[in-house]
Symmetry: C2
Subunit: 491 residues, 2 copies
Amino acid sequence: MRTGIAAIIGGGVIGGGWAARFALMGWDVRVLDPDPEAERKIAEVLANARRSLPGLADAALPPEGGIHYSTDAAVAVSGADWIQESVPERLGLKRDVYRTLQEHSGDAIIASSTSGFKPSELQEGAVRPGQILVAHPFNPVYLLPVVELVGTSANPPETLARADAILKDIGMHPLHLEHEIDAHIADRLMEAVWREALWLVNDGVATTEEIDDVMRLGFGLRWAQMGLFETFRIAGGEQGMRHFLHQFGPALKWPWTKLMDVPDLTEDLIETIAGQSDAQSGMHAIRDLERHRDTNLVALMRALKSQDWGAGAVLNTTDAVLRKRNGMVQRFDQITDLTRPILTLDRTVPLDWTDYNGHMNEAKYLQAFCDATDRFMEIVGCDADYIATGGSYFTAETHIRHLDEIHAGHRVRVETICMNGQGRKMHLVHQLWEGDRLCATGEHFLVHVSLDTRRPSDPSATIARQIAAIEEGHRNLPRPEGLGRYVGQPR
Amino acid sequence: MRTGIAAIIGGGVIGGGWAARFALMGWDVRVLDPDPEAERKIAEVLANARRSLPGLADAALPPEGGIHYSTDAAVAVSGADWIQESVPERLGLKRDVYRTLQEHSGDAIIASSTSGFKPSELQEGAVRPGQILVAHPFNPVYLLPVVELVGTSANPPETLARADAILKDIGMHPLHLEHEIDAHIADRLMEAVWREALWLVNDGVATTEEIDDVMRLGFGLRWAQMGLFETFRIAGGEQGMRHFLHQFGPALKWPWTKLMDVPDLTEDLIETIAGQSDAQSGMHAIRDLERHRDTNLVALMRALKSQDWGAGAVLNTTDAVLRKRNGMVQRFDQITDLTRPILTLDRTVPLDWTDYNGHMNEAKYLQAFCDATDRFMEIVGCDADYIATGGSYFTAETHIRHLDEIHAGHRVRVETICMNGQGRKMHLVHQLWEGDRLCATGEHFLVHVSLDTRRPSDPSATIARQIAAIEEGHRNLPRPEGLGRYVGQPR
């Protein structure tokens, strides 16, 4: 993984995204843009990138490179290893820009972010056409890994190989197109959807929100992990892609879209597609692909749950209904017997909670206990509304005994005992059960804090009273096993 | 949330998916299918659904309903609240099926899974047309929430409202289309992509894998959370959707796709789209939308990392390069000073590790320590290859002191001391630092196990020797603060 100097020509959203990715991956960046607002605009993109990209990695990124702004092409490109052009989509303008760049640039790669032009069009009339190619990224450039890399026969293979290596160095996945074509691949697919969507809105059939919902709550979640062909391969079932094409091919002739020029599904084309699909996905049996798809969907949708967004928001709505239906206590006044431990979690272990040991990962034990603590806090009155007023509990200390294994699909529950709820303190013991099997205990010490000062503070009178009542009710419960234990203490 | 009786007419992948969703949400299911293989096929779909759906919820699902197979329509539909027809896409066949169903069905909703036919076509010639509507789902039906709900003026509003409520009861998101149209909404959009993709393969421009990659590593990740219009709204920037349409509208006229019948972007159409987009997304400022998009992308891609799939696999490759570049010790023989704590984690806290208190969630402290333990295991020789031979370490006990807050974007590191590595034991102390701020300590007791017997077993001689050497080297380090502490122990 090398770093170097990247010159960013044109500092809009795309140029800014490139600048951010290069800089955060340790490259020195020089921005060339006559717009006096360029620095402000790129700073905004950079702020978004600094917020999101570094934590995406499970390893530290290199020290951030510097960003320098210039209106002088010679200063911007001199000594650059990579020059990324993202000026407006006008061919004449781009060619003028290349002329200037090539006066100052040495043998740097000159890559265009163009979404529409072919590299041969960009190279035409250039002093050194072999230096120019297309590297078409996707917004936000600092997060999405794919980039369409397109050259022509004028580009030496070494140049394309060098471009490929540099893009990988900044964490991208170059998709090397063998043949140039207007708009490359992705924008053609997007345009197809865009046009059909415009018809649907134009004809009053659907609103923009309905179209977005059908994508993000439906097929978009499949495309985000498998794309189009691998998804359809599954639809073909055990008989595979050839079967799918024979079965669903005729639908192409139906008058469904306004877009009616369709290739003939000849036996040759069927063989081509089926063969490519075999090469791409044939290492997975269909049943395995189905399970990968489902595990991915669970992981994706649960990720969106934590953001309460899209499919995740739909699932959260259902969860709230399920909790009510299950008769779980949600508020203090629903507790019927204060002398019993409180049921604070009742769920099935999801597929994305397991690890390489084939069981629930240790960190998810604390996730379960953390969810149980959240529920207990809600019950005593420390719910989202209360937290919005500026009070909450922070966990100070945790002790977990992992007593037995748990697997995905196991239904588990947590029963909670309050050992102490005096003043600012909350001392809880969670027991994690699968059926009559005690799988873990969690002992947790929390402190009520002010979210303004981040210092300990008194809870509301209601919370204090309700916790005290539960502590009082739990006083005569048998002392929970493992209480007050330290790590490694003999049993 | 009610449960009831669902009759599933036709038991293929779609019918099976419906059967699985209804049964897992507590409904009694009756399957009507003349295919002698129906029970086996549905059992396979059910197995996939039982594996994935229950854990998707953060609450327990109702007790699973029964599934009964029949070849007698009267038995299958008598007393049913919902009848889902998923027979092959032949209009005559479907109409024949409805005739039979209506002889036995009472006022149950009869919903068709058809992807192509309009409800008016299905209703034609029926005894009670108002009973029949379209509920078009997406495979896998048991996971994906969206369903296109389409009726006609023949359906009483009460029927559509009842259908809507029942679909929500089984965790779905009904998208109620106001106007019927061939293929509804989603399949028209999918067909548009499918046709364009066929051209690209047919013309030798791209392979199936390249097309899938450009989707799943690029725009598919945007569509999975925001769909098409909300994504483009962001592209319009602060000037919004009208600006986007004026700016990018002309591209529609370019000869990019084989699919050239395009609606005119009249001022009327621009107003319609921009107005709908305002109603859909206007509550979020563009900067907020960008941050939601980025947080969602981080959460989605990190979810795929844990599966080492798609965009997640690309990120994992980059992580491995970064770790090497950062000079982190990866193998025992790279340790230069055995008397120093070992750096086992060095990363930036990602956006999806924070919670409602505006800081890193308590469970992620254990995630960080768990990741650090994984790294320590690798260093002493318990890596993926070793685990594949059937040995590993299980955590038995954990003690965490949460000493200070950590926020998204903080760069944190874990330094690890081995207290004991004798025999089957591994006793580690992790210290989590942000700069010179000690934010947490973790004390962990692990046991080497056989993954076959799931019982304690001896580690390999190499692992034993390497752990012992680190323990020996760490013997003279100052006793880590917090060691042997129990929860609530006075400082």
